[in-house]
Amino acid sequence: MLRLGQAMFRWSSIILFACAACSTTSSSAAGQDMAKKTTATPTRDAGLAAWQQIYSVLTHPRCINCHTATNYPQQGDDRHRHLFNIIRGPGGKGVAGLNCVTCHQGSNAESTGVPGAHNWQLAPLSMRWQDLDDKILSSVEVCRSLTDRSKNDNLGGAGLLKHHDQEPLVLWAFQPGHHRDGTARTLPPLTHEEFVAATRTWVEAGTPCPQNP
């Protein structure tokens, strides 16, 4: 009886140890996965703070110059109307004979000062972040626009995160090249890594939008 008890105790210990080992392994795998995410679901306040960081990037000239409400893009840190009679065109890519890619190639042209990235074009009018007087929309308005799936090409949180992380025209904003005179174009207030991290926090918090303008 004592031997049976000892044997049972031994097997129980082995089983318990095996379960503990499995649990630890699973936690490590999940932990590695979670390492990409915040350690806990961000609060709404944390999400709103992250949104304000995102907003500061979206409204920087490197981004907002192509998110216009008008028939034209903008240029420069002063966001003046794009020179040379450049207009939006029906698909946001200019018009036949005067497309965006007539000048803007697949990467920055450092010798001539023309910025470039794959598929250079305007954002659709549904993603305008300015009004018709070129005035930047409020944080509330931009947030609501960005999270409206009827306007944002049906992107949910994961889609928005991927867009901020991988879209070539978004990436360009953080490596915008130099002007013809060799001076560097100004950068958004966050690095791309910080921008993606803020987006991740905002998405994990449920993409909250501020209540007041």
Binding site: V95, G97, S111, T112, G113, V114
Partner: protein, 154 residues
């Protein structure tokens, strides 16, 4: 300096230039194809317009290093297809040209427009050609010639 293989008007060409050299100067100085003109150097006037992979392109601001294997068509070769020929014929029949300096770019722009929009309205013409400047003011005849070419292509 770097070697670049280009396809210009259907012919293979090879040049050795600084990678930042604008395509305009490769065409004019290295390949001695002077039909494409320098007007401003900042893509403002359209005199340097060529076609790269069928898209009207301002060659004064595109470094040769960014062309890749995309085929280039210049004013010297635009008559090789029916739209190019129709535009050239219309330019002659409507007596468009005065000094002629901008007209290479005007023709290249007009061909790109008609290939995309065979029946352009006045508004389409104004939008598409609005970036091609003419100091002689031949705009009225340019517009008419585009309409004439469009009719010929029906």
């Amino acid at each position: 300096m770097e070697a670049f293989k280009l396809t210009v008007n259907g012919q293979a060409k090879e040049v050795t230039v600084d990678p930042g050299t604008p395509l305009l100067w490769v065409l004019r100085e290295d390949l001695k194809m002077t039909g494409t003109k320098y007007g401003c150097g900042i893509a403002a006037c359209g005199a340097c317009t060529v076609h790269v992979a069928g898209i009207a392109t301002r060659s004064c601001v595109v470094p040769v290093s960014l062309v890749g294997d995309r085929p280039i068509v210049t004013i010297e070769g635009i008559g090789q297809d029916s739209v190019g020929r129709a535009v050239q014929d219309a330019w002659v029949s409507e007596d468009v040209v005065q000094c002629g300096y901008c007209q290479s770019g005007q023709i290249m722009g007009a061909v790109a427009l008609l290939k995309s929009l065979p029946r352009p309205t006045d508004a389409h013409i104004e939008e598409a050609m609005g970036g091609n400047l003419c100091r002689c003011g031949t705009y009225v005849r340019i517009r008419q010639a585009i309409k004439t070419a469009s009719q010929q292509l029906k």
